[in-house]
Symmetry: C2
Subunit: 422 residues, 2 copies
């Protein structure tokens, strides 16, 4: 097994097999730049680049790491990403002296995680959210439209998705203010304005787009993975009472656009290859433009925990797995671009809530509490139907290798009370 | 009446009362910069700025005109926009010698329209499309859900809107490729893939956001107009057959994200003041967060013309007016941000199709041909139900003053045949 000269425990999310990319700012020097996580450290790629260590790769002379976002690097494509990744793995490997034995370079290139501030990894031009979990779509459908109409007729034929709000995608750690808005309680004659009373999370994963495509030139499904730079964890905060009232006929709007949180470390698509597997069988067979050969899913374990203001520690409330997604990332990309829509470097596509076949695999409070009829029992005796002010919601995830983990870190956020009414 | 020393005819869209902003590139010098339109000319604001003519305004020292987008200028807010506009009007006025009598400066500062290339006026971070015309929503509702369920119950209580695709907002003049996608013909057992057969336009107007708001801090309705930098014409190209199949439950996606066209000149909000008027009466009265005092609409005449490949000239197929919109721009902004969603300088908000009370005021082919049952008769004997390959669709608009027009120029685009199937 590949090992780094930096010591990394078997349960660390960031061994040499992972090397996720992030944008960071050392607390001592306020300039944003790009690094990879390794154990408890961040390796500063802008330093390695300036010292000429990437001269044999496709980033040479492009200055893509001394940047406040990954966009320029993401635009370069898989061949270059692989070259850079191989070079970093070589420099970090236990058998390689270049970095290991150069105290001066090491001192410049490594930062303790605790000494840096993580920033948004990309400038997200457009954010798209899908609805790719059959279990989630079915659960929601049963609650809102009854068992017989649970899945819309289109659902098994195409990856349903909608455009989300890019401006309010925030970094993990950002507190989220409970939105106010318009809703119509079932018993009310007329809609009311006030703080959302059904605040929810959604367990999702997202992927950041690499090169992308020109307007008018769809990405064929077989080429779609070439455009996936890497993956992050996503919490698509949702205001269910606002959503119920507003969503017809044009979809969710205020219910979703107050915040979407993403994790700071972008896991390279390459790091996930050992965990590739087939997704659920697709019946009916999709139309040819959505048909791909080979396994298109990945075995990524996911966990959700909640910690209320008066709880001593976080409590796990759900586990799920990326593999349960019905539609693959490649299919979602192919569908997104089928009409000619252009994807640009840094665009974020997210999966929609990832619910699994079991009850504890439900990826939202809406499903976990079955629209409020089955409150969650918390260890301190409290119950939860929806998120309460002060609640911290955290999503983690990893791929379990033999003796190592490809960890995603976490996406976390705390609920702040609604602002004063306008 | 204010007059410029540049001669401008009474029917010109760009008199001294207008002065729309645009981003342009002289054909002789490929650098993008910002100008205003005056008659047949573009006045280069970066030249005036370098010569110190804006020293007494809030743009002094900020270099906002020597830029490839209006975003930096839009961020400065109404007070600065007014100062700059007053200064430009002074410099252009017939009685003012500074520019009029300085042949060297005039030569540097003025470009003939025919000698410049117009570019996208803003870097659009997010694009939002509303559904603010009651006539349009009612027409569509009758066709899709029948007369009794035409308007969804939420429609008269909030400005329904959805997030659109920012990457595919294109400048007027860009040809639009007919999208391919998935649709389900009514008689078919299963969905099919192929070129859209129901390609449509939507007559809309859009406004570009100025300062905007921080995440979590809604814009009150009474302050909303302060965030409107200016207006453009919008054609929200739509694939009706794709939309019908995909839109439930999360709204339009592929049906809209292949292209949205905007006009290049951004009409300053200030130029529209003389044409302010009350919009339609709102019944029921909206909730307080959507209630504003004063007139919130504007008298803007709109026209749509279509020219097929074998037609000698464009034929007008619809006229409408911005005043028919039920929800005001201020209400749309207040609603957009009510949950805390942040708007950023350069964001585009659009009205949705602007249909009026009369049959010829329908702002889409869907409505004009009543879903294909009432084909449009063209002057050369052809009929139109949907857009055909080679059709050029053009939207124009203006406010009619006494002896002058505040013109919006046009947004135009030609339909290209679908690409080869993937």
């Amino acid at each position: 097994m590949m090992r780094s000269f930096i010591e990394v425990g078997a349960e660390s999310p960031f061994p040499i097999q992972n090397l996720p990319y992030g944008v960071f700012r050392p607390r001592s020097d306020r300039t944003a730049r790009i690094g990879v996580a390794i154990g408890e450290f961040v390796l500063d790629l802008s330093v390695l680049d300036k010292c000429g260590h990437f001269q044999t790769t496709g980033v040479a002379g492009k200055n893509v790491f001394d940047q406040p976002s990954l966009n320029a690097y993401m635009a370069l494509g898989r061949k270059v990403w692989k070259e850079v990744r191989a070079k970093i793995q070589q420099l970090l490997s236990a058998d390689e002296a270049t970095l290991r034995d150069d105290a001066v370079l090491r001192d410049k290139a490594f930062h303790r995680m605790t000494d840096v501030e993580l920033l948004m990894p990309a400038q997200i031009g457009d954010y798209t959210d899908f609805y790719a979990s059959k279990e989630h779509a079915t659960n929601v459908g049963i609650m809102f439209r009854g068992k017989d109409n649970a899945l819309m007729p289109n659902w098994t034929h195409l990856p349903v998705g909608y455009h989300g709000r890019a401006s309010s995608v925030v970094l993990s750690g950002t507190d989220v203010r409970r939105p106010q808005g318009q809703m119509k309680p079932p018993a009310a004659e007329a809609p009311v304005y006030g703080p959302c009373k059904q605040l929810d999370f959604e367990l999702e994963m997202g992927w950041l787009i690499g090169p992308g495509n020109p307007l008018g030139e769809p990405i064929p499904v077989e080429e779609a993975e070439e455009h996936i730079f890497g993956l992050v964890l996503v919490n698509d905060w949702s205001a269910r009472d606002i959503q119920t009232w507003e969503y017809q006929p044009l979809g969710p709007f205020i219910a979703k656009n107050f915040a979407t949180s993403i994790s700071p470390w972008v896991i390279p698509f390459e790091a996930l290859e050992p965990f590739r597997m087939a997704g659920p069988e697709q019946e009916p067979q999709p139309l040819p433009y959505l048909r791909s050969t080979g396994a298109g899913s990945f075995d990524i374990h996911l966990e959700v925990s909640l910690q209320g203001a008066s709880m001593g520690k976080p409590q796990r409330i759900a586990t799920s797995n990326f593999r349960y997604l019905y539609w693959s990332m490649a299919q979602q990309i192919a569908h997104h671009t089928v009409g000619g829509c252009n994807l640009r470097p840094g665009d974020l596509l997210a999966s929609g809530t990832i619910s699994g076949p079991e009850k504890e695999m439900r990826g939202s409070l809406l499903e976990l509490s079955w629209r409020g009829t089955e409150p969650l029992e918390m260890e301190n005796g409290e119950q939860r139907v929806w998120l309460e002010d002060g609640d911290r919601l955290t999503i983690t995830g990893w791929c379990q290798g033999e003796g190592y983990r490809i960890g995603f870190g976490e996406v976390t956020g705390r609920v702040l009370p609604a602002g004063k009414s306008s």
